[in-house]
Subunit: 177 residues, 2 copies
Amino acid sequence: MASADLFKRQGYAATSMRQLAKAVDIEPSSLYSHIQSKEEILQTICFEQAEKFTKFIEWIAEQDDSPIEKIKAILLHQIQIACDDSTSITVFNDEWKHLNEEHLKTFLISRKTYESLFIEIINQGVQQNVIKDVDPKIVFNTLLSSIKWIHFQSNKNAANPNNFSQIVDLILGGILN
Amino acid sequence: MASADLFKRQGYAATSMRQLAKAVDIEPSSLYSHIQSKEEILQTICFEQAEKFTKFIEWIAEQDDSPIEKIKAILLHQIQIACDDSTSITVFNDEWKHLNEEHLKTFLISRKTYESLFIEIINQGVQQNVIKDVDPKIVFNTLLSSIKWIHFQSNKNAANPNNFSQIVDLILGGILN
DNA sequence: GTCTATACGATGATAGAC
DNA sequence: GTCTATCATCGTATAGAC
């Protein structure tokens, strides 16, 4: 999608319908045969990604794997998507605040659900004594945040599939030798 | 600064001069007695923060501390600032891409300088065998990224000074027990 | 589904009086 | 340094012909 690319580079608010139209080589008004509003584009991108993540964590949560294996799988999944579709992920990460009031509300609920499922897994790890007994919210935020640079990489540099598990091990095990 | 607060909440592009004016209770045109353009406000915020970070890492780099101590100090400093002035830090982190061509160029050079100094410290740690031998750019990005959630915290929750060293230890040592 | 034409409010910024 | 008045441009979106 050309719109995700523009939203990623310029941000949602700084991207006009005129630019969007030029990117797909039609007149601005013609866009409205495909969409109802500019916000609808943003909404589609954000909720597509949100659903992807939520479905995965819901699936992982009910597997028989250990908490550590589950967290590894989630991080690997996130990294994979950040590489495969870096534009949509950037929009999902950085532009959701421009959703309209109604969509924003739904979006935040969805994030909260995701957080709860993740924190449940962390708590299991703490109980089993394989994860440090630190505030689970800190662990959650640190884990998710630590991979939010990959989608900015210009390409295949630090963030190619060969490095995926290396990155996950770094995050889980720390940088200390 | 009221402008940093609006830029944080709505983003630079979505914030108008009229809103900025209302926030300080004057007419929009009166703003131009204090600034030359909207972009100048953004520029001031971004470069103030950039200078703060650069000065600190330059100072740390020439200390006698071990690489790990240096990295700890840098992360603690970043966390401290993220708590003290979360609005400016959010603008610095997320809105710099709206700088004009000339300022953007300077800004990116400044970031590159910062990255080089940080990576040098990481490399020292790797040579001394106290830091894992992973691509230093991955380590750099992961470390810096992992604290980029603190400035979003509503307040004093997970991110109060008592937790600072806990967070740093988590990042350096990983979540594994 | 695409076009031309257009509505019309919002945008950043300026001129000039006080 | 603040105001009122204003400018030119761009913003999203619609109407209606083809």
